[in-house]
């Protein structure tokens, strides 16, 4: 048996923090063969990155390997120091990081940065290093590499930055490449290209790769072997097919279920146990709308121009009926948030009107809208759960706030009951209510945000990418929750997202926005199956499908 390139044995990593010691990794054992691509998946905070950093000895000063060993070509990495360590970096193993833009020095030309890496390990002249850097840029398929040599990171797109990052990482032909979420933060279309490139390069140069990701689909697509981590422990190791078809560990099961696919439905996203008592409601078919009911919301020729220049949104019209869910998709900067904030009456439209329940509200200045009787009927859920809760409010305060302001409840039993009721509806354990946001997890924060939005029993809920910052497993739960609320309360949803998979599952109708203008709209399924414009088609094609499931299954037979 050949010796594995990397062998991690019972690795323990501990951080000393102000709350005492935190064990981030507790007994991870794994091996990487030369040339192999290994997937390392797990929810956020499960210790994937820490394992990667420990392997490359890039841990924070506060982190320490407390037990176990990391053998790289038979040599214990944890005991290296000085020049040996420096030689290990870059030359033997290197890393690719999550956010390529911040991983590059913003004030140094990218060519220079690549050359820096080359010069640390090779005794060659500056010119030679420069030429080699150019070669590398070519290798990572950057167009016009001569010109890009002198470019700064901010002058490159995210995808290009990631290519530069890859160029730096492979500059000295390391034997092992650790890619820590190399595609998160890139838009869907670029993600695939970058991953393909990475896989090709690794294959061509015979580099072993550890691909760290929380996207099971991604790992399944490129790796022959996947290890799953949960809370610092390795819980399962298997080939992708096995993992998808016969997940053994409960956590893996959840993970597999939660990963949305081209065909999954909302109700499939969570496991039976989690669905619990609400399964009934979700299954119930939607009541058909009585014909002739006026739509809940009518938006007519809405436009918004900011201080300077072109319109962020122009000529935007739509309707939503009570209990209907409409998706709003489009690339970044297309005006999705602007539209949703106008509809929520947080900013004033420059033109057009908004009619809610038969009454025009578009002309009430947003400054005064807080006094409008419709204020409590239109509520919003915000993108980043971390930023959507006042750090000085407890969960209880957050949910109680609109009740106090809009319903006029006073501090007391009635209020407490309402808050608890909302919390229950969103599945937030009541013992979390006295906690402050920083004491809650991302999913819990998202629930508080939703609870707050539904507290006054609104009739229209506008959601601006409510799950973008969440893990797949948490996202699944949240989506489920939203769908349930819609059915229970006959709540209309305007769902803003750029994750088309999600929109497809949740929304009956979808509107595609580009540069502030509607390019296409219609029934979700029809729209996604048969996009009419190129723009929509591009968007749809970029969705990472997990065809793997079937493809690999076939191969495994």
């Amino acid at each position: 048996m050949t010796q594995p390139l990397l062998k991690i044995d019972n690795l323990h990593v501990t951080f000393s923090t102000r709350r005492g010691l935190v064990e981030a990794v507790r007994g991870v054992t794994l091996a990487v063969e030369p040339g192999e691509m290994l997937g390392l998946v797990g929810e956020s905070g499960s210790g994937k990155s820490v394992t990667g950093f420990a392997t490359t000895r890039l841990l924070d000063a506060a982190g320490r390997v407390t037990a176990g060993e990391i053998l790289f070509r038979g040599q214990d990495v944890t005991k290296l120091s000085g020049d040996d360590l420096r030689h290990l970096h870059g030359a033997a193993m290197s890393m690719i990081f999550q956010n390529p833009r911040s991983a590059l020095n913003p004030i140094r030309a990218v060519g220079q940065q690549i050359a820096d890496a080359i010069l640390t390990h090779k005794r060659i002249s500056k010119q030679a290093a420069h030429a080699e850097a150019l070669e590398l840029l070519r290798a990572v398929q950057i167009r016009d590499p001569e010109r890009r040599m002198a470019a700064y990171p901010h002058e490159l797109s995210g995808g290009m930055c990631q290519r530069v990052m890859i160029a730096i990482a492979i500059s000295c032909n390391p034997a092992l490449l650790i890619a820590d979420e190399p595609t998160t933060g890139l838009d869907v279309t670029t993600q695939k290209v970058v991953m393909d490139l990475l896989a090709d390069i690794a294959a061509a140069r015979g580099m072993a790769t550890i691909l760290i990701t929380h996207d099971l689909g991604l790992a399944a697509r490129y790796c022959r072997r996947i290890v799953v981590m949960e809370r610092g422990r390795l819980v399962e190791e298997a080939a992708p097919t096995t993992l998808f078809n016969h997940p053994r560990h409960p956590y893996t099961k959840r993970l597999v279920a939660a990963s949305p696919t081209a065909h999954s439905r909302i109700e499939d996203l969570v496991t039976e146990e989690e669905r619990g008592p609400y399964a009934e409601i979700v299954r119930k078919p939607k009541l058909p709308q009585a014909p002739g009911t006026p739509p809940l919301l009518v938006v007519q020729k809405l436009a918004k121009r900011f201080d300077q220049g072109a319109a962020a949104v122009a000529d935007f019209s739509m309707t939503i009926a009570a209990g209907e869910s409409v998706g709003l998709v489009g690339e970044s900067g297309s005006g999705k948030s602007t539209t949703s904030r106008m509809i929520c009456r947080l900013i004033d439209p420059s033109e057009g009107d908004i009619v809610f329940d038969g009454q025009s509200i578009g002309h009430v200045p947003s400054r005064d809208f807080h006094r409008s009787p419709f204020r409590k009927d239109i509520q919003m859920v915000f993108q980043d759960p971390n930023e959507s809760l006042n750090p000085r409010f407890t969960a209880h305060d957050c949910i109680a706030h609109p009740l106090k302001r809009l319903v006029g409840l006073r501090e007391g039993d009635a209020l407490r009951q309402r808050v608890e009721e909302c919390a229950q509806r969103v599945g937030l354990p009541l013992d979390l209510l006295p906690r402050f946001p920083h004491q809650l997890s991302g999913g819990q924060k998202a629930r508080v945000g939703i609870a707050r939005a539904i507290a006054c029993r609104p009739r229209l809920l506008v959601l601006d990418e409510p799950t973008a910052a969440l893990d797949v497993s948490v996202q699944a739960v949240v989506l489920q929750l939203l769908d349930r609320l819609r059915r229970e309360d006959n709540l209309a949803l305007l769902f803003v997202s750029h994750d088309l998979n999600v929109v497809r599952m949740l929304c009956e109708r979808t509107i595609v926005l580009r540069n502030g203008v509607i390019v296409e709209e219609g029934d979700s399924r029809a729209l996604f199956d048969n996009p009419k414009t190129d723009y929509t088609r591009e968007l749809v094609e970029a969705i990472p499908h997990i065809e793997i499931e079937t493809k690999l299954a076939a191969a495994a037979l």
Binding site: L58, H89, G90, S94, S102, N105, I107, D116, T120, M165
Partner: protein, 336 residues
């Protein structure tokens, strides 16, 4: 460059505001300059009137303001009663002294603050970090006039190491031909190394006592931004490809961390320039700030107004310079 131009234009209203505000502030001062300057042993009412007329104080306020603005527009800042010279001339003679002092002080401060800040950031929470912190805090907690007087007492009076604290150069050294007004440069241009050395020796103590006071904010910001940039992703990248520690710290971390330091240094420079009143007084430094102080205490309007205008313009200029420096140091800026 166009950006700098626009910045400059947009600061003109601020300058105008400063001008008018100072004018009004000076008139609010309860002292009557005419009475003060007519304080010879036999000055009579007529003398007071005479001076009042000379200073243009016999006219109504709006008239005075209009006249003043007209004069300023033509580059005439009025005449100082105190020195009997035109304010423009006084300021032109004294500004190099202040600038030279402030530059030197800033240089001393930067040269000591940046390494201190970096050292502290490299080992946060260590003895070194606390030591740096204490040292900096000690620097800001002594009023400059006390540190100045103490420095004089120790280095001049007790030890005799420093030259007498009476201005920019020893009275017995002959001055170089004035080309830039900056003695250090003029001496060099004249090839007079001895004179240069003499001028430098005079500079050290006042510059030190000013520098002591600003090391703290500079070191503090250096430490903070160094911590941020040491913890940033790109430094991690640099480490992951095995760049040497020096390379990582200096080329990668420090060069990024220096950006906010530039901004603060700009602010520090302009505040120092206006605030070194006390140091100039203590060291008999013939600078603009002590000139303005004397004028203020004797209600001599023109010099104070001229001084404030000068400071405000310098403030704008320094901000522009900082902007330009920033633009050079940070390629991202030019895109905005």
């Amino acid at each position: 460059m166009a950006r700098a131009g626009r910045r400059f234009l947009s600061s003109l209203p601020a300058l105008f505001g400063v001008l008018v505000f100072t004018f009004l502030l000076m008139r609010v001062l309860p002292g009557d300059p005419a009475v003060f300057f007519a304080s010879g042993p036999n000055a009579s009412k007529e003398d007071v009137e005479l001076i009042r007329k000379q200073m243009g104080l016999d006219k109504s306020m709006p008239e005075q303001l209009a006249l003043y603005l007209y004069d300023v527009g033509r580059g005439n800042l009025g005449r100082s009663m105190m020195t009997g010279q035109s304010v423009t001339k006084d300021l032109r003679e004294r500004l190099p002294a202040s600038l030279e002092l402030t530059f030197t002080a800033l240089l001393i401060a930067l040269v000591s603050a940046i390494p201190l800040g970096v050292l502290a950031a490299l080992k946060p929470g260590s003895i070194i970090d606390h030591g740096v912190r204490l040292f900096c805090a000690l620097g800001v907690c002594v009023p400059t006039f006390v540190s100045g007087l103490l420095l004089i007492y120790v280095f001049y009076y007790l030890l005799g190491l420093a030259p007498d604290p009476t201005g920019r150069v020893d009275v017995f050294t002959s001055l170089p031909p004035s080309r830039t007004g900056f003695l250090m440069i003029d001496f060099l241009l004249a090839g007079d190394i001895e004179g240069w050395w003499a001028a430098l020796k005079q500079l050290i103590l006042p510059a030190m006592s000013m520098a002591l006071f600003v090391i703290a904010p500079l070191a503090r910001i250096t430490r903070a931004s160094m911590l941020v940039s040491l913890g940033s992703d790109f430094v991690r990248t640099a480490r992951s490809v095995g760049l040497s520690r020096r390379h990582v710290v200096v080329t990668y971390a420090l060069r990024n961390a220096i950006l906010p330091v530039i901004t603060i240094a700009g602010i520090v420079f302009s505040t120092m320039l206006g605030a070194n009143v006390l140091v100039e007084k203590v060291f008999s430094w013939p600078g603009v700030a002590s000139y303005a102080l004397d004028a203020l205490l004797s209600s001599d309007y023109a010099p104070v107004q001229g001084f404030v205008l000068l400071m405000a313009s310098l403030f704008v200029l320094v901000n522009l310079t900082v902007d330009v420096c920033y633009g050079i140091a940070d390629p991202r800026v030019s895109i905005e």
